[in-house]
Amino acid sequence: MDELGEVRSRTAAARRAFDEVKAEMGRAVVGHEELIEQVFVALVCGGHCLLEGVPGLGKTLMVRSLAEALNLSFSRIQFTPDLMPADITGTHVLTEDPSGKRLFDFQRGPVFAHIVLADEINRATPKTQSALLEAMQEQSVTVGGKGHRLESPFIVLATQNPIEMEGTYPLPEAQIDRFFFKLLLRYPSREELGRIADLTTAAEPARLRKVLDGEGVLKIRQWVREVPIAEPVKDYAVRLVLATHPQKDGRALLAGRYVLYGSSPRGLQSLILAAKARSLLAGRPNVSFEDIRAVIRHSLRHRIILNLEADAEGITTESILEAVMEGVPEIL
């Protein structure tokens, strides 16, 4: 096989793996197809996701199913106000060796897994939340002055409840910015509810087949970064990001009025990387304008900070991003 054929075959392999993961997860998770796609995109981009939705929508099931289908380790941390950082990262425990000598042994916390579900992350104190910060950004934790590398692939899927805000500690912007995607969970439709009932009450939950492994994910992650993107397409993404800034030239009309701070450069990185992943998983060799538009909501919605006027008038970041996409032409 020639070199071009090899590249083509790996593109096809990535697409096939993606389709298989979706199909396998679809056996356990009803609905949320788009959510599964976006989580997989974040995974192959090396990013973390913030999932927002009311309880009981199948977040844990979905994450567990993903880990099962990918043959990756999975841990779940239920964030509560009394959760301590050591409960996440792990701690040194005094142990005695066979010779009777006492020494501190590092007990790994739940963060040492490929897929970490940080459930209701906004219920823990900022100190505990920040324990995840280093893990998410550096993919390592430091305990007792000693760094511990986390295994690749590593992805944090944090959830938060949008309605019960009392007694919670909203995530600081710096931490929110570290999430690659913010994904919204929608309530299932009537048909989906019916299927959920069938799946969960009639028989034993299906055991999922392992269709991919960590090594495969890492390969795809590498291929994603090699997808070429044309300068005009990249310029389009840059102009979209700039249009979210109220102070910049070329801002969208709504952004000028309702946005306090626009997207960070991480938003642009997320936008382009996610677009690359989307094109690869679609079997395309290059990034298109449509790829950029398809991921902009997930990439930028949590990176735009609205002002009080927007709160008062019920303006959401979704409507801002709609206006941004309408106002920015693909080609100048």
Binding site: E3, L4, V7, E226, P228, P232, S288, I331
Partner: protein, 476 residues
């Protein structure tokens, strides 16, 4: 260079050439459109153009200027080509493969995934005909351009524009031709209606000259030469010669017109009853008729004709001679007007003054001999007393029922009337039926001469007023 790369380069070159050609076409169309718009806007001020320069050259000059400015300030650039590739991607559904491939082609080192893009783009573009995907799309300017151009040509053809009148006392060649033509047509109409044979001949000659000049068969100096010759010919025709038997020189044009009308009124009806009716009846009938025709009566009194001894043939001969003399006098005056108009036109004085071209028109409209009351003395006799500038005499206010006395010296001149001012009193003024008929007849003739009466109704109106005269005669 791989096969894919060479294919892509060839395709992209074709796209580039096609788009550049389309842009050139678009720029030219738009430039011509805006040049025509600017020319239309400039048309009212075309007198500012150098002498001899046609307004038709304005768009031809402006178009290259506009096109040059567009090309200079908005030159064809890389961005235009990217737009073309973007259009190609969209129309073929290539999902930005063309744009990406074009960018990769410009790189020296190409990675494997980039070669895949080149290969896929080349595969998709292999059988693509660039002309099909970049069809000629005319801008909206192209649809309005013919209309604007037509409008411009029509306006130029009809010589629409504002004459500034500055910098030259010589009338514009077009204005000269126009004035000549309009004047000749007026004279022709008048000559036809009043039976002025010489005036008709001269008017036809003038019209012919105007047509020749307009069609370009004759140059302007030649036209002036011809007009001078015509003017001299009119002078040789004996403008100063008086009528042989009837002295109409001192009569105003209005009085001559009245007299002519009265003669025409008298003509259709039997002049006199037959011999068999007896001399007394003849005398009484003629006296009654003459009472209703004041001008004619006045002329008969001047001639002191013995009405009682006149035979039918003698009266007819007398009236015929008078009519001929009258026509000759009117013809003579008309020729004099033509001569004066031609003199003014040749000397270029018609354009002088702030009225410019309009003065020519006003001066010759109907009665060229009538002097302007606001200017110097008239050049024709009989229209204003003398040439000595005296303070204007104000006529006393006329009061009805009270005798008015007018002081002054009646000097030599041809004025036959005074101007009175006064408040009319209801029920006290009376106009004779005969005068009324004559007056109405004159008005009818004027209306007929003007174009306010539709052509088809002119005869009916004329017959109506003639019937009034017949009825009046029958009543007598």
């Amino acid at each position: 260079m791989s096969h894919e790369e060479s294919l892509l380069r060839e395709r992209f070159t074709a796209v580039l050439a096609r788009r550049r050609a389309q842009r050139r076409e678009k720029v030219l169309l738009q430039s011509f459109f805006y040049a025509v718009v600017a020319s239309l806007a400039f048309l009212p001020f075309r007198e500012l153009l150098p002498k001899g320069v046609s307004p038709l050259v304005i768009p031809l000059i402006l178009c290259p200027l506009v096109a040059g400015a567009v090309v200079r300030f908005c030159p064809w650039g890389n961005r235009d080509f990217i737009r073309a590739l973007f259009h190609l991607d969209k129309s073929l559904g290539l999902e930005e493969r063309a744009i990406t491939a074009w960018e990769i082609l410009s790189r020296d080192e190409k990675r494997l995934p980039e070669l895949v893009v080149l290969a896929e783009a080349a595969e998709r573009l292999k059988g693509v005909d660039v002309r099909v995907h970049f069809k000629r799309q005319l801008p909206w300017h192209a649809f309005f351009l013919p209309l604007l151009l037509l409008l411009f040509l029509v306006l130029v053809w009809f010589d629409v524009g504002v004459d500034s009148g500055k910098g030259s006392n010589v009338p514009h060649p077009d204005a000269l031709v126009r004035a000549l033509k309009e004047f000749s047509q007026e004279v022709k109409e008048r000559a036809l209606s009043e039976g002025l044979s010489e005036s008709l001949r001269v008017a036809s000659a003038m019209e012919e000259l105007a047509e020749k000049r307009k069609s370009g068969q004759m140059s302007e100096p030649k036209l002036r030469e011809e007009l001078s010759g015509l003017s001299r010919k009119i002078d040789h025709m004996g403008l100063g010669r008086a009528s042989s038997e009837f002295a109409f020189e001192s009569a105003t044009r209005e009085s001559l017109a009245d007299l002519k009308m009265e003669l025409e009124t008298l003509r259709p009806a039997p002049m006199l009853p037959g011999r068999a009716a007896g001399e007394k009846k003849l005398q009484a009938g003629l006296a009654g008729r003459l009472h209703s025709l004041p001008r004619l009566g006045e002329e008969l009194k001047k001639r002191r004709l013995p009405l009682e001894s006149l035979t039918q043939e003698e009266l007819e001969r007398f009236l015929g001679e008078m009519e001929q003399s009258l026509a000759a006098e009117l013809d003579r005056r008309s020729l004099r007007e033509i001569s004066e108009f031609l003199s003014l036109l040749i000397q270029g004085e018609a354009e002088r003054g702030e009225q410019g071209d309009s003065e020519v028109t006003r001066g010759r409209s109907g009665r060229l001999g009538e002097p302007d009351p606001h200017k110097g003395p008239g050049t024709l006799p009989g229209d204003r007393p003398g040439t000595k500038e005296l303070p204007a005499q104000v006529a006393p206010l006329f009061k009805p029922g009270v005798a008015a006395h007018l002081k002054g010296i009646l000097k030599e001149g041809s004025s036959t009337s005074f101007r009175w001012q006064g408040e009319p009193q209801a029920g006290k003024s009376a106009v004779g039926v005969e005068d009324l008929v004559v007056s109405y007849r004159r008005q009818a003739e004027e209306e007929l001469a003007s174009e306010r009466i539709p052509e088809g109704l002119k005869e009916a109106v004329k017959n109506y007023f003639l019937s009034l005269g017949m009825a009046e005669q029958r009543a007598e």
